[in-house]
Amino acid sequence: MDTLLQQGLELMLIGMGVVFSFLIVLVGCTNLMSWFVNRYFPEAVPVPVSTAAFTSAAPAAVDATTLRVIEDAIRQHRARSGRG
C-alpha cells in the first residue's frame, strides 16, 4: 500500500517535471522559431490574431436571415435526391 502511494508520489514528481521541462523547452523553441521567422522571413502583412481559438467559433459575419436562406439552399442542395 505505502509502496503504491510512494509510486504515486514518484509519478507525480516525474510527471510534473516532464510536463514543465517539456513545455519550457517548447517555450524556448517557439520564441526561437518566431524570432527566426520574423528576422529572416518577415511577412508583408502579418495575420492578426483571429478572434477565436476555434474556426468553428468564427464570428457571425452574416445576418441571420441570409444565413437561414442559405441553409435552406444547402439543405435542398443536399437533399436533391431525397431519402438515402
Partner: protein, 433 residues
C-alpha cells in the same frame, strides 16, 4: 402454447435485472443533462443512448457473441462451450468466461464459432468499441480534428502562457494520489486505475478516453462521463476557485494587446512541436502527432478540402461512434460500484486543483516578470477548450468591464491540451509500460 411462453420469456421485463433498470435511469439522466441542460451534448447524448442500448436485457448489443452465448444460451450450448474449453459447466458462467479469456487464440476462435453457429453474433456496440477504442483510432482521429480546429495564434503571441498550461496539469497527479489514498477507505484502485482517474483533470475528452482504454478499460464509462460532465460544469466550478485565490486587484490587471502572429509562425509551430515530441517524448507521439497533423493541415492552407472534411464529416462521424462505444461500457456491474463515487469526487477535485494551480502559477510568474499576467487566465490552463477561456473572460469582465481576456486566455487554454497530452504520455510510459 409453448410459443406464447417463449414469447414472455423473450421480453425484457422477464429478464431485466435491478442493475440494468438503474443504469437505464442513469442514462435517461445523462440524456436530460445533454438535451435540457446542454452538458456537452455532442458526446453525452450518444453516450447516454449507447448506455441505454447496452443495458437492454437480452439484446446483448454491447456484448460479444461468446458472452451472449454464455449468458443467454441453452444448457446444451453452454455445455458444448465448456467442453471445448475443457471446463466443467457446473463451475458456472464466470469460470467459463475466465477460461475463455485465458485460452489460446485458436481455441477462442473455436468457441466464438460455436456461439456464431448458435446464431449469436457480436453486438453492434461491441463491434464499434472493439474497432474504434481498443485500437485507439477514434480518440486519435478526434484529436486530429481538434487540431484542425485549434488556432495557436494567441499562444504564439505570448508563449510564456504555456507554463500556465503546464501548472494546471497538477490536478491530474493530485487526483492520481487521491485515488491511491482512497484505497485506505476500502476502495480498490490500482496504479493504472489511479492514472486513468487522474487524467480526468486533463479536462480533455479524447485524451482521457485514449489513456483509460489503454490503462483501465473497465473504468471507461465512469471516467468519460465524469470528464465530460465536469467540462460542462466548468462555468460553475471555476469562478469561485478563481475568486478565492485572487484579489480584486489581481483580477483587474489589464493585459496588453497581443502582437499579430504571422502565417509562417502558425505553420511552423505544429512542425516544431512534432519534432520536439519525436526527440523527447515518444510516448506522447500518437496524441500530439495527430493533433499537429490536423493543425498543420489547417494552417498550411493548401489542403482546405481535407481540413474541411476533417473538421466536419470525419470528426462528426467519429464523435457519434465514440459516444456509442463509450456508452457501451455503462454496464451495471462496472458502473454501479462505490469506485464510481470515488471517481466522480476525484474528478471534481482534479478540475478544482488544476484550476487553482493554474491561477497560482500565474501569480508566481508575475513575481518574476515585468509584463504582468492576469491570474484569471491561469484557470484556462486546464484546457476544456474553449469553455474555460470563456469563463476566464467572463470573470475578468466582472472585475473590470473593459478587461477582455478571451484572447489572452486562449493561450493557456490550448497549452493545456498539449500539457495533458504530455502528462498522458508520461502515464502511459510509466504505468502502462
Amino acid at each position: 402454447m409453448d410459443k406464447l411462453e417463449k414469447l414472455w420469456f423473450s421480453t425484457g421485463l422477464f429478464h431485466i435485472e435491478p442493475g440494468q433498470a438503474i443504469m437505464i435511469a442513469v442514462c435517461l439522466c445523462l440524456l436530460f443533462l445533454a438535451i435540457r441542460k446542454g452538458f456537452e451534448p455532442l458526446l453525452l447524448l450518444p453516450i447516454g443512448v449507447g448506455g441505454l442500448l447496452a443495458n437492454i436485457p437480452m439484446a446483448g448489443m454491447a456484448e460479444s457473441a461468446v458472452s451472449q452465448a454464455l449468458h443467454l444460451g441453452s444448457p446444451e450450448l453452454i455445455a458444448s462451450i465448456a467442453n471445448a474449453l475443457g471446463v466443467d459447466p457446473v463451475e458456472g458462467i464466470k469460470a467459463l468466461y475466465k477460461a475463455y479469456h485465458q485460452a489460446e487464440p485458436a481455441l477462442r476462435m473455436v468457441v466464438h464459432e460455436i456461439a456464431r453457429d448458435a446464431n449469436y453474433s457480436d453486438g453492434i456496440l461491441y463491434l464499434i468499441y472493439t474497432v474504434g477504442l481498443t485500437t485507439g483510432v477514434f480518440p486519435l482521429l478526434i484529436f486530429m480534428g481538434v487540431g484542425a480546429m485549434t488556432d495557436f495564434g494567441p499562444l504564439l503571441a505570448n508563449p510564456r502562457t504555456l507554463l500556465l498550461g503546464a501548472a494546471a496539469q497538477f490536478g491530474i497527479f493530485a487526483a492520481l494520489l487521491g485515488a491511491l489514498a482512497l484505497n485506505y477507505l476500502g476502495l480498490n484502485f490500482s496504479l493504472a486505475d489511479a492514472a486513468s482517474i487522474g487524467i480526468i483533470g486533463g479536462a480533455d475528452g479524447p485524451t482521457s478516453i485514449y489513456v483509460t482504454t489503454k490503462l483501465a478499460p473497465e473504468l471507461l464509462g465512469a471516467i468519460a462521463v465524469a470528464a465530460y460532465s465536469y467540462m460542462a460544469l466548468v462555468p460553475v466550478i471555476q469562478p469561485p476557485i478563481i475568486r478565492l485565490l485572487t484579489s480584486q486587484k489581481d483580477r483587474e490587471i489589464r493585459m496588453e494587446q497581443l502582437r499579430p502572429v504571422s502565417k509562417r509562425e502558425k505553420i511552423l509551430f505544429p512542425i516544431v512541436l512534432l519534432v520536439l515530441v519525436a526527440l523527447v517524448l515518444p510516448d506522447a507521439a500518437p496524441l500530439l502527432g495527430m493533433f499537429c497533423f490536423g493543425n498543420l493541415m489547417k494552417e498550411s492552407g493548401v489542403v482546405a478540402r481535407l481540413t474541411d472534411t476533417t473538421t466536419n464529416a470525419l470528426i462528426n462521424i467519429v464523435t457519434i461512434m465514440l459516444g456509442l462505444a463509450v456508452g457501451s461500457k455503462l454496464s451495471a456491474e462496472q458502473f454501479l460500484v462505490t469506485e464510481t463515487l470515488g471517481i466522480l469526487v476525484l474528478g471534481l477535485g482534479a478540475f478544482a486543483i488544476g484550476t487553482g494551480s493554474g491561477v497560482i502559477m500565474a501569480k508566481i510568474m508575475n513575481r518574476f516578470s515585468s509584463m504582468p499576467i492576469n491570474p484569471i487566465i491561469g484557470a484556462a490552463g486546464v484546457s476544456a477548450v474553449p469553455m474555460a477561456a470563456r469563463v476566464a473572460n467572463k470573470v475578468g469582465l466582472e472585475a473590470n468591464p473593459q478587461n477582455f481576456l478571451l484572447m489572452h486566455a486562449m493561450g493557456p487554454n490550448v497549452a493545456g491540451v498539449i500539457g495533458s497530452a504530455v502528462a498522458a504520455g508520461v502515464l502511459l510510459n510509466f504505468v502502462g509500460g
